[in-house]
């Protein structure tokens, strides 16, 4: 089953790449806008040989990892505390609802004014954006705790800490993991956005340069790199998720629908 899946996936991927080669070659789209796969691959090879590319990659990853770590830690802590302390969830609901939807990109002008193109600008945006993803998922997850399980734990006399550890945390974990996965993606988005719009050093800034200098294949190559980066991050997050949720329905048993 595993091997079949991998083969099917590879077939899908090959078809996608072939389509990318064929469509511009057949003149369905202008190849100045959408170069064939092979030319993008050439540009990608040229990029990989350059030292500045690796520096940019390092800059992007630093901003991403630092920001994500801060956001996930703070998000889980805040989410659990808000959910278990009586009234705190309700008291903070309106404030969270107000702060959360403020798009972190609205803070771009402020970040530019305060920190210019420093790493701190990137971190400000990344942490602000990723924090809410985790927090909201934690809150949703805690809401989803099975009342019977919670009641059972109570009637067995489990204390607050034990209930967090054995009832609340396992029930909320699938949501938390989804939250972390989304936060990892959002953190990458915001790190690249900060580089693209503000000009903080990194892959985003290189894409902006490639775009303004009309280097279309290079631009696509860099975008492919950001995609691969996102893919790697997602696969990593998924592996962690699968490990942590080995007992859960969605991982354990495939439902035949």
């Amino acid at each position: 089953m595993r091997a079949t899946n991998a083969a099917l996936g590879a077939a899908g991927l090959a078809a996608f790449l072939a389509l990318g080669e064929a469509v511009p070659r057949l003149g369905l789209v202008e190849d100045a806008y959408f170069p064939p796969t092979s030319r993008i691959a050439d540009a990608l090879g040229a990029e990989l040989a350059e030292g500045t590319f690796w520096t940019a990659l390092g800059d992007t990853l630093t901003g991403w990892a630092l920001g994500l770590a801060i956001a996930v830690g703070a998000g889980i802590l805040a989410g659990v505390v808000l959910s278990i302390v009586p009234y705190l969830r309700e008291a903070t609901a309106s404030t969270i609802e107000f702060l959360r939807p403020i798009p972190s990109v609205a803070l771009i002008p402020l970040a530019v004014l305060l920190y210019g193109t420093e790493l701190r600008s990137v971190l400000l945006l990344v942490v602000y954006a990723a924090f809410w993803q985790v927090l909201i998922q934690v809150l949703y997850g805690v809401q989803d705790v099975d009342p019977v399980a919670d009641e059972t734990a109570r009637s067995y006399g489990l204390g607050t800490w034990a209930r967090i550890r054995h009832v609340l945390w396992p029930s909320a974990l699938p949501y938390v993991m989804t939250g972390v996965r989304l936060a990892a993606a959002v953190a990458l988005i915001l790190a690249l956005t900060a580089e693209l719009v503000i000009g903080a050093p990194g892959l985003g800034a290189r894409i902006a340069v490639a775009q303004t200098s009309q280097a279309v294949p290079e631009m696509y190559a860099l975008i492919v790199v950001t995609g691969l980066l996102g893919l790697l991050i997602n696969v990593g997050a998924r592996t962690v998720e699968r490990r942590a949720l080995a007992w859960h329905q969605s991982v354990r048993g495939e439902v035949t629908v």
């Binding site: 079949t4 099917l8 996936g9 590879a10 077939a11 899908g12 991927l13 996608f16 806008y33 959408f34 009234y87 309700e90 008291a91 903070t92 309106s94 107000f98 702060l99 959360r100 939807p101 403020i102 798009p103 972190s104 990109v105 609205a106 803070l107 002008p109 530019v112 004014l113 305060l114 809410w132 949703y140 809401q143 989803d144 009342p147 019977v148 949501y175 989304l182 993606a185 959002v186 988005i189 690249l192 956005t193 693209l196 719009v197 894409i207 279309v216 631009m219 860099l222 975008i223 950001t226 995609g227 691969l228 893919l231 991050i233 997602n234 696969v235 969605s250 439902v255 035949t256 629908v257």
Partner: protein, 259 residues
């Protein structure tokens, strides 16, 4: 009535405290970047009424609505398709994973090549980013349909559209709504970015203009307005969600009460 009042207090208390703290802390501020809240609030009505409401706020909202709606329809449809067939999922997964992994803002330059800098570009950018949380959550939701429910439906001979509507989408809907909620904030982000990048109107464009012109209080009013906008949208979202997921919350509440 006696229950409404404490709730109201709970809702209003923290924001009131925060605003008061901000007001007092910034009252004597001479820092250019952190103007007193009073100055910001005074500037607010001047900046965001009349012409600007029509010329900047409305176009932004229409683009957001267009992109979001497209993403929701495409995301749920594709998600259901992919989630309900292991075969389709196996073929599509690597490509989808890759496309999903491309951060949408880096597509702004690409979509600009194809669609120019018009409204289509912005709607496409918004849709291309919003679709993934919806799609991902739909796939997960469809996969996690309760085995007993699925088999019960099968043994009752519920198939086709009825099964899709009453079993699959119904049981996936809490997850789908979680996805839609996340897509909403991604959508606002992309709306602002696409306007910061290339536009002649819209909220993102205007806020960046203020920042470049060092009109700091005006810039702050823009940030506040985006906050208010996001807040209003999420209130609307919650009303819709409460209606659509009434059965789910009811189920939870009743199993809680019956304990």
């Amino acid at each position: 009535m006696s229950r409404v009042l404490p709730r109201l207090v709970l809702v209003v208390a923290l924001p009131a405290v925060l605003v008061t703290v901000w007001w007092l802390a910034s009252a004597g501020s001479t820092n250019v970047y952190w103007p007193p809240l009073r100055t910001i609030l005074q500037a607010f009505p001047d900046v965001w009424t009349g012409e600007r409401l029509r010329a900047d706020v409305l176009p932004s909202l229409l683009r957001l609505a267009g992109g979001y709606a497209t993403a929701a329809v495409v995301g749920v449809a594709l998600g259901t398709l992919i989630g309900s067939s292991p075969w389709v999922r196996a073929v599509c997964e690597p490509v989808l994973e890759f496309l999903r992994a491309v951060p949408p803002p880096v597509l702004v330059p690409v979509i600009m090549l194809f669609a120019g800098i018009g409204d289509i570009m912005k709607v496409a950018v918004i849709a291309s980013g919003c679709v993934w949380p919806v799609l991902l959550n739909t796939v997960e939701g469809v996969r996690a349909v309760d085995a007993v429910t699925a088999q019960t439906a099968r043994s009752y001979g519920i198939t086709g559209v009825a099964r899709l509507r009453h079993v699959v989408l119904r049981s996936a809907s809490p997850q789908i709504f979680a996805g839609l909620r996340q897509a909403l904030s991604v959508g606002i982000i992309l709306m602002v970015i696409s306007e910061m990048f290339a536009a002649s109107n819209g909220l993102g464009f205007t806020i960046v203009q203020f920042q470049r012109g060092f009109a700091i209080p005006d810039m702050w009013t823009g940030i506040l307005l985006l906050g208010l906008l996001g807040f209003l949208l999420s209130v609307v979202f919650r009303l819709v969600e409460r209606r659509a997921l009434g059965w789910y919350h009811g189920l939870r509440a009743s199993s809680r009460r019956s304990r």
